[in-house]
Symmetry: C2
Subunit: 441 residues, 2 copies
Amino acid sequence: MSKQKIIVVGAVAGGATSASQIRRLDPDSDITVYEKDRYMSFVNCGLPYYLGNVVESREQLLPMTPEKFKQKKNITVKLQHEVVSVNTKSQTIEIKDHTTGKLVKDNYDILVLSPGARARHLDFDVPHLFTLRNMEDTDAIEDYITTNQVKNVLLIGAGYVSLELLENMYERGLSPTLIHRSEAINKLMDQDMNAVILSELDKRNIPYRLNEEVVSINDHTVTFKSGAVEDYDMIIAGVGVLPNSEFIQSSGIEIDDKGYVPVNNRFQTNIPNVYAVGDIATNHYRHVDLPAHVPLAWGAHRGASIIAEQIAGNKDVVFQGFVGASIVKFFDYTLASSGVSLKDLEQFDYDMVEVKNGTHAGYYPNNTSVHLRAYYDKTSRRLLRAAAVGITGVDKRIDVLSMAMMHRATIDDLTAFEVAYAPPYSHPKDLINMLGYKARQ
Amino acid sequence: MSKQKIIVVGAVAGGATSASQIRRLDPDSDITVYEKDRYMSFVNCGLPYYLGNVVESREQLLPMTPEKFKQKKNITVKLQHEVVSVNTKSQTIEIKDHTTGKLVKDNYDILVLSPGARARHLDFDVPHLFTLRNMEDTDAIEDYITTNQVKNVLLIGAGYVSLELLENMYERGLSPTLIHRSEAINKLMDQDMNAVILSELDKRNIPYRLNEEVVSINDHTVTFKSGAVEDYDMIIAGVGVLPNSEFIQSSGIEIDDKGYVPVNNRFQTNIPNVYAVGDIATNHYRHVDLPAHVPLAWGAHRGASIIAEQIAGNKDVVFQGFVGASIVKFFDYTLASSGVSLKDLEQFDYDMVEVKNGTHAGYYPNNTSVHLRAYYDKTSRRLLRAAAVGITGVDKRIDVLSMAMMHRATIDDLTAFEVAYAPPYSHPKDLINMLGYKARQ
């Protein structure tokens, strides 16, 4: 292979892993990673747990530095370097160096886009309003809490990160309040199954209000749509994300109407030598013929690996698509799902079966109930989606059902799932088997 | 369907479930179950845990009685009725009624054999030597322990039931000692992974000796092959089982050289109106083309369901074979495997990959290490077997890999397993993904 010049935009999960995987297969290519923020490879999913003092040290969130990356992998990472435009004809990019304010240029043979998404911001200008998306946000929140002896925290939005953050704020000893603008909290999950989220809040006397919004913030006093007026030491908004794709808007790289970048099963954009991975990329489902946007960590790592294989010439290593697995811990409970989103489900003529049963043999102690369901196409009987909620045994069932969906299993196939059974683990007929038996015609 | 006369031999997992499932699909047939022992439908897998006082009451082991079965399902169960011969020409059976000692006859249209296996007995005639296989054994052991203030218990054999029993004897406050005639303990598992069994024993100062056998028992004094002479209050032998197939030896029903009954994918024996299920039956693997004998609870329940569908005329509901999943808890550890047995593995030209990693993100607390491995065929790259040992997360990985093997997945397919990831549950690259990545060529 001739020595190629590869540029990667973004040095978090998708970008840093792409660079690293490309180097693994090709010791010679020239790899440069541009990252607009101050840190590379921070552990996104650990940020709420760091703020809850569950993660012991800040260093654990930052396993990699540009210096180490250079030394170990001969990859150049330039932090605070924001790629501001791409010219796919000349194969050049413009970069704003935020340390100097200057524009610089670079050129590529292959471009890998992993710029991610950024937090949406609410339109209030107060110093105690934060979002949680990156390491800078995390440091700012931590600093504000300790410097200002924060006690009451308003959390706006009830997506999975906000829920993790709420739990961590509470466990840290702060008093969180949650509001959400609709009743549709934790949108990745079936809404009725989200009832445990509210009961977990009730159990701990944590205030929450649905169909609630902030109207105005005057110093620490917040006025709500409901008419409530309350004081908060701190406000953290988790009200969605926006794709960082403005810099490619006139590049000829296709962007969809939401600002995300469609890729094929090689993670190529419409421009063959431009790949996209991570939150910015939209792909397709594996088990059904629909586009899928699954902006989670697994996909970033998987995409990085496939891009590296493609660049190395292993053209047959392609992505077979997402099943869309996700999971969140909320206090004592685990909520997980896999398969098409609830919105995509509406494109099918489907049936649903569900079972509530102990996670293991009834006579064995420490049993807890799992509520497990599966949706399947009425005609093909193929599994479309599964969801589960409970205290233990939830991750196992959803992971097994993800593997089933990967193989386009039908609901009937679930009767034949051979569970590893002993009393502490399952039943001779597992809940997964029961789903199949319940769907018998 | 005309009213059929169905006879089931054996009223434990395979037999009672078969009867119950047959009734579910056919309200009219005449169903009689003959059981040689005193109890029906006892919960086999719970027996060690009952003896450890983990299962709270004896009633929990006996969820069903002939009276309830008759009332709820209109199925006749005759306990202490041992079927002693079968005539497949005349479709008649002879039954010994152990309550009267008399021989009686019955006839069938369809016969379902679920006589199970019995414990092998050691050739020593002392009143404190027991086996653990059924409810009578359990009662006898419990009675002996309480009546004789048992303290020291010798356990002979280190199969999974003996290991469960040892743990329960210890947790109950007794002092168990384990011996095994070879070094091959817990044969369902990879031997090197069984090292945790020995370390768990060492941790608790529980004595054990491998390559050890009992030579003689003189009252409570036991003389061993090693020369050791020790006193034990009680001895429980778990030294294998023997199929209860003597009663069909001259029936024309095929029996293999070990005494088990081969069945096809409808659980039919060579005689089309005679089915066999449970420990007595040998079947085939699902993911490879080899016979499989998997005498565990899941197969008994699955077989029962398929037999009922077959009898009801649903000929297309067939068994696709075993993957051979098994699991055992031993103190803090879980040991599990799936796929072909270690012996059957030798029929393949295989490679093995393995990974040792925390069950979830390293920065999240309460992490424990899982040792996971997979064997695959060098040519087809199809998964043959998987095994795992660890404190948590073992059942999940093996269940996912069972689902993969059900679909004849290759080792390479594991890279595409979309794990449900959040820090408390897994990694963005799960251990299962790592197996696939490690096998890259």
